[in-house]
Symmetry: C2
Subunit: 270 residues, 2 copies
């Protein structure tokens, strides 16, 4: 048996990305400059920030709160803090995150960045161009940094995918004791994005990583949307923050209780 | 500038772990058998399952629901499904997860496994023994598989740590534009556990991975608890599931409304 092993390389020398830049060309040049030959089954993880920059998704920082509102389809929870109000929302991509993913770091002063219009489509475009250019079956993930319920800190996750299976569905498989694995669906695209973040870093100016050794998750089809990793709707057990749900329930209950209590009071008339 | 790169190797040949086994010896033998020389700054990621097995944390499967109750300090949410009821709870380690982490896969038939008594302490013991045995400053992470709010599938996270900084606190640093990074605290231990899961797999019988290239997170001190990654208490905005909070709020509101309505009804007496 071959022992599984993966390698993750940061891609240096990308330089600053500007609106209208062709990311596939910038990445191909950086790969060549670093002497990294992309192989069949390799995965390139691209920070959403440079996709947004190339797509010209910059807006004036003065309009940040307005931009968050525009990107929001549903407010999950809000919390006031000394610097303002944090809004945790579902954005138009179906992703629940703080500030709808509107980002003020690593952007030119006075501007903030919106998420790409459609990160899965961006991934497909990049994968199509780079597969043609490099002549190999590579996969593309677009990553972003997300906070988590119940855990401190953030981790990177996949918000766009092309040619990479985002879930390893082990249900129906058997474990080493021959018992069925009932509930395990590993979000491998998020795990790959997390691994890539370990080399990319936040302040290093290296927004792309190459992940080698996971060709079992790389497929011909580019229709492997990361959108499948978002969970909203009926199966979402945390569609409202606790304080928000308590307040909503209390208002509903108060109205019901008041109506019933009034009838009871009237009935008590001597 | 050196371009960051990491390597992740699965460790083969561990065999089945039984109660009372010395994990440090099993791991050292497996490393040698595979010809993997552990280097200063390497991190070994060990699946909590084999730590539990070595610690004899097996209980009869018939007692699973009872075991979940015993491991639970607080119920966050419950949801009925055709196979029973899923309980998302805070366990005695401060981790919010389904079934309190009580696990029925990859265990001998008729048994389920509880989480280690204290995964941070288990990590410290392993790190102490392996550092002495191998003569290098390595780090240990104990990993488990967690579901996530708002995202499909599970990812591995760190529930025990010794010698590995669990958070990369970038607050106060500057980005490539010289602007302060205000809110970024990357949960690197969770990202490393996720990277390790990509080679370990669930059904492969390879419960340990070696991660190389992240020595900046490996420190002399073994007091680097993964417990610091759990977020419960006042800063937890999702301490109750939405349905549970709506119901609690409604009950509170109903009682308040009924009292007020009764007084209103009495006052309406002609």
């Amino acid at each position: 048996m071959t022992v599984p092993a993966i390698q993750v390389y940061a891609l240096a020398g990308m330089g600053e990305v500007a609106a209208g830049d062709a990311l596939d060309e910038l990445i191909a040049v950086a790969l060549a400059g670093q002497g990294l030959d992309v192989e069949d089954g390799d995965i390139l993880v691209v920070t959403s920030k440079i996709v947004s920059k190339a797509e010209g998704r910059s807006v004036r920082a003065d309009d940040r709160e307005e931009a968050i509102t525009a990107e929001t389809v549903r407010v999950v929870a809000t919390r006031a803090h000394p610097g303002g109000v944090t809004r945790i929302v579902e954005n138009r991509l179906g992703i629940v995150q703080a500030a709808a993913g509107v980002d003020a770091s690593n952007t030119p002063s006075g501007t903030v960045l919106l998420l790409p219009v459609d990160p899965d489509a961006s991934a497909r475009q990049l994968a199509t161009a780079l597969r043609a250019h490099l002549g190999v079956r590579l996969g593309i993930l677009v990553s972003d940094t997300l906070g988590r319920a119940w855990r401190e800190g953030q981790t990177d996750a996949a918000i766009g995918s092309a040619g990479v299976l985002v879930v390893d569905d082990l249900r129906g498989g058997v474990d080493t004791f021959g018992q069925r694995l009932e509930v395990t669906q590993m979000a491998v695209a998020d795990e790959i994005a997390a691994a890539a973040d370990l080399v990319k870093g936040k302040a290093s100016g290296m927004p792309v990583a190459l992940v080698r050794g996971l060709s079992q998750f790389v497929v011909d089809s580019l229709e492997t949307p990361a959108r499948a990793l978002t969970r909203t709707g009926p199966t979402d057990m945390f569609r409202l923050g606790t304080d928000e749900a308590l307040a909503e329930g209390r208002a509903t209950g108060y109205a019901e209780g008041f109506a019933a209590g009034r009838l009871a009071g009237l009935a008590e008339r001597p």
